[in-house]
């Protein structure tokens, strides 16, 4: 039985409460009266990154890394947001906050919170592998670590990105030989740019769906990407043949895509590690590529943080925290409304 043993935390602030708590609105710092990645509207919110489950609409005041500012502005409109540098410390009622690279997507941060010598870190979503697009993850020492564990199972072990990108490029080349269009589905923030950055531009042209084009345009001010061409009503089928199209998962099965026949489809996600996920009828090919940590990376990150207490949020929280307890850590789970892993799966499956 893997019942949820609540170990309870001993670390207390002056007011006899933990530095960070989970309430119905989000992750809350009572001493500073502010939230991190709140899922319901709050006054002041630190945002780890631009994915929709971590950066919700409706907060009065947003604070995030300055690379993330154009991203959430693009998604949420004209919000009140301040961008800061990595490592820049700001103090609220004695609590010191700073942001540190999380390596998940451009502008993604871990949040370090310190009060009277006690340090907590919330990882947000993160990966250890340098993807060549966003600022790579950096370890941050802390007493208590709040970590995601989307892929917190020993069954997840990512291959080096270089190998996966080689596979993607040769899949594209094969389709080109068969005079087919390659359509790859990728989340419009993160995965799309990661693939785009490493496509072999000598093989042909790279076309995009509107959602991808717009987000990439926003990010071009931060990172250099190969040229892309937006698919419009005037784009002809013959123009696309042999070339590659990057589209959001929601485009799968739409009339937009049916116009491109003959085509081969592919999906790039950590879930593609599972044969069951790969085999489902939705796509012709699955590439195992994730912006989250695999099993070993999670363990490495926890180890390098030096944390004795670990709180596991979204993903295989029960199993992962049970494992952490078995290796002597004080670990437990907390319920959040983050759903990064479901976003990827559901959108492809529709």
């Amino acid at each position: 039985m893997t019942g949820d043993t609540k170990l309870g935390f001993n670390i207390k602030t002056n007011k006899d409460q933990p530095l960070l708590v989970f309430n119905e609105r989000g992750i809350y710092c009572p001493q500073a009266d502010l939230y991190i990645d709140a899922w319901k509207p709050v006054n002041r919110c630190i945002i780890t990154h631009g994915h929709s489950d971590h950066s919700k609409f409706g907060h009065k005041y947003y604070l995030t890394h300055h690379f993330n500012v154009p991203i959430i502005r693009h998604r949420l409109g004209n919000i009140a947001v301040k961008g800061i540098e990595w490592g820049e410390v700001f103090t609220v009622n004695g609590v010191q906050f700073s942001l540190h690279p999380a390596g998940h997507v451009i502008g993604s941060s871990q949040v370090r919170v310190e009060y009277k010598g006690e340090v907590w870190v919330f990882t947000g979503d993160y990966k250890l592998q340098d993807d060549g697009v966003c600022q790579p993850w950096e370890p941050v020492k802390c007493h208590a670590l709040i970590t995601e564990c989307t892929f917190g199972l020993p069954a997840f072990n990512w291959r080096p990105q270089q190998e996966v990108m080689q596979d993607i490029n040769s899949w594209w080349a094969d389709n080109k030989t068969e005079e087919k269009t390659s359509v790859i589905f990728a989340y419009s923030l993160g995965k799309a740019q990661r693939i785009l950055k490493h496509l072999n531009v000598d093989q042909g042209k790279i076309y995009t769906h509107g959602a991808i084009e717009k987000m990439t345009e926003v990010l071009r001010s931060i990172v250099d990407f190969p040229p892309t061409e937006l698919i419009t009503r005037d784009t002809k089928k013959q123009d696309l043949l042999g070339n590659i199209v990057i589209a959001p998962p929601s485009a799968h099965g739409s009339s937009w895509i049916r116009k491109m026949v003959p085509f081969e489809t592919a999906s790039a996600s950590g879930w593609m590690a599972f044969r069951g996920a790969r085999r489902r009828r939705a796509v012709d090919r699955g590439f195992v590529l994730s912006d989250h940590c695999d099993w070993q990376a999670l363990l490495k990150a926890i180890k390098s943080s030096g944390a004795e207490k670990v709180i596991c949020t979204h993903g295989y929280t029960d199993i992962f925290s049970k494992y952490l307890r078995s290796i002597g850590l004080d670990a437990r789970t907390e319920k959040t409304q983050y759903e990064g892993e479901l976003l990827e799966v559901e959108k492809v499956e529709v």
């Binding site: 039985m1 893997t2 044969r275």
Partner: protein, 533 residues
């Protein structure tokens, strides 16, 4: 192994039949003869028997992956496939020195079976650490069980036919029967034209499609025969050169499991092949599928079991008579010969599936409505002048099954799905009301079901489960009883192994009754009332 793993990967990554056939034909053109024979064997369920039990496999894999067994088990539950789990958690730590063939590995497995556990462990852990991911997966799959890669025997035969230019039908016949991959050559199995030594060989079964249109669309009543659709095991009973052979539709030779037929061997003329249904016949009445279940899978049958659940063959076709292949003849003519042979056998162990009399299509509707009283699943419609075809073909045979029985039940437990649905709770347990000793209504579990909802509904139910969990037991959660579903099933029988006292056959979710409150769900007594005595 590399080439075979690449083939499996190709077959596994496409849904397109043409691509599969092409890949397989290409493999059959390039692989060595022994590898070809083994590939045919594996794709027709002729795997060598398991050299290592799965308990040991799990323990060896967890040890090599340096994780606790519980963590391995939890991972297995989420991945959903043992070989895949092992391949995923075990790291490749070395390179293989030389490439070994599929045949080498299968010979290893035959050898390994007789070895001691320590040898097994050393062998497996070594192979796991030197094989790259996909080869590791395929290798482990060979140890654990069949590949579900959408390659039917028919598809394999078609590919082999493309590669060898031998007709598909001829190949299908050649590949049936009780050959052993370790002792037969490709020449003997596939290329040679043989006579004799084929006594046991069954014919490929002709399979019916479910009726698509209204009955009148079939044309004139006079062109058709109708029979009941019996709910047993489809089988061919063969008598050639003095010996009896029984084959099931799964192409399994099961003669030993039904020794009752030996007693009447002399009654059956040589050169006879019946097609029919093995049915449990208890005190002159057809038993339930649950009864038959007790006989299936028992290689050795005790005398007591033979008496408790005797089995008969209800014949409905004659494929061979006096050594002649009758399959090209019209069904009408085969039927006349069938009646004559059954009469000659003159033993209740082989009876004939009676024809249903009807003059108008409407007559059949009435018969079908009462099929359950006859212990049948519905009706079969067979064109009088049709030959006996190979495999599933439309047009001449139609099955017209009864609508499933159904009952409204309450969702009480949920478990995560496997594979692509491993994030969602999609395996459900359902309960019905009953009154306990103190006169209170309580819910009692009666069936598990997992198919039948749309992805959208699954997500909605999943969300409900996640926010209405009462308790977690490993992967299983008990859920606040609030949702009602209509559960359909094919048959029902009393069972002492079930908490509810009832076993249902093929339970599945028909629909989500969002209009019903749990108080309106059915009772166990409602379910019991459906049992036909």
């Amino acid at each position: 192994m590399k080439a075979f793993a690449a083939l499996i990967k190709q077959l596994d990554t496409t849904n397109k039949t043409t691509v599969k056939v092409r890949a397989l034909a290409e493999y059959f053109r390039s692989a060595s003869d022994t590898d070809k024979v083994w590939t045919i064997a594996l794709l027709s369920h002729r795997r060598p028997s398991r050299p290592v039990n799965t308990t040991l496999l799990r323990a060896y894999a967890a040890e090599l992956a340096q994780i606790d067994l519980w963590l391995f088990e939890d991972s297995y539950h989420i991945v959903g496939d043992l070989a895949e789990t092992i391949a995923l958690v075990v790291p490749q730590t070395a390179e293989k020195e030389k490439e070994r063939s599929l045949t080498d590995y299968l010979n290893d497995m035959i050898w390994l079976k007789k070895e001691e556990d320590s040898v097994k462990k050393e062998y497996l852990q070594r192979e796991w650490s030197i094989l790259p991911y996909y080869e590791r997966f395929v290798f482990t799959k060979l140890l654990t069980g069949g590949f579900r890669i959408g390659v039917s025997q028919k598809l394999m035969t078609r590919s082999l036919s493309m590669a060898t230019e031998i007709e598909e039908d001829i190949l299908a016949y050649k590949l049936m029967g009780n050959w052993k991959p370790q002792s037969i050559s490709f020449q003997e199995l596939v290329l040679d034209e043989r006579s004799g030594d084929q006594d046991s060989k069954p014919y490929p079964f002709y399979l019916a499609y479910a009726l698509e249109d209204e009955l009148p669309a079939l044309g004139t009543v006079d062109d058709w025969y109708a029979e009941h659709k019996w709910d047993g095991i489809r089988a061919q009973l063969i008598k050639r050169n003095g010996a009896i052979f029984i084959w099931t539709r799964g192409e399994e030779l099961v003669t030993d499991r039904y020794p009752e037929f030996d007693r009447i061997s002399t009654n059956i003329p040589d050169g006879t092949v019946f097609d029919g249904e093995l049915l449990p016949m208890i005190d002159g009445k057809i038993g339930t599928f649950n009864d038959l279940q007790k006989r299936i899978g028992r290689r050795t049958v005790s005398k007591a079991l033979l008496e408790k659940v005797p089995v008969i063959l209800r014949a409905y076709d004659l494929l061979e008579c006096e050594g002649d292949d009758l399959r090209a003849d019209a069904f009408m003519e085969r039927r006349i010969k069938l009646e004559a042979v059954v009469q000659r056998v003159d033993n209740p162990l082989i009876d004939i599936s009676p024809l249903v009399e009807f003059e108008e299509w409407e007559d059949l509707e009435k018969v079908r409505a009462k099929a359950r009283d006859m212990k049948s699943e519905g009706l079969m419609l067979k064109r009088k002048d049709a030959p006996y075809r190979i495999g599933r073909k439309k047009g001449d045979w139609w099955k017209w099954k009864l609508d499933p029985m159904c009952i409204d039940a309450v969702l009480t437990y949920a478990m995560r799905g496997h594979g692509r649905r491993s994030n969602l709770f999609t395996d459900y347990t359902f309960a019905l009301w009953r009154e306990n000793e103190s006169g209170e209504r309580e819910l009692v579990t009666f069936a598990k079901a997992y198919s039948g909802l749309t992805d959208k509904e699954f997500r909605a139910v999943d969300k409900f489960i996640k926010s209405n969990t009462i308790e977690r037991f490993g992967p299983v959660r008990s859920v606040v009883p609030e949702l009602v579903f209509e559960i359909g099933f094919e048959a029902i029988a009393p069972s002492s192994r079930h908490k509810s006292g009832i076993a249902t056959r093929f339970p599945r979710i028909l629909r989500w009754r969002q209009d019903k409150k749990i108080e309106e769900a059915n009772t166990l007594d409602d379910l019991k009332a459906m049992i036909i005595e």
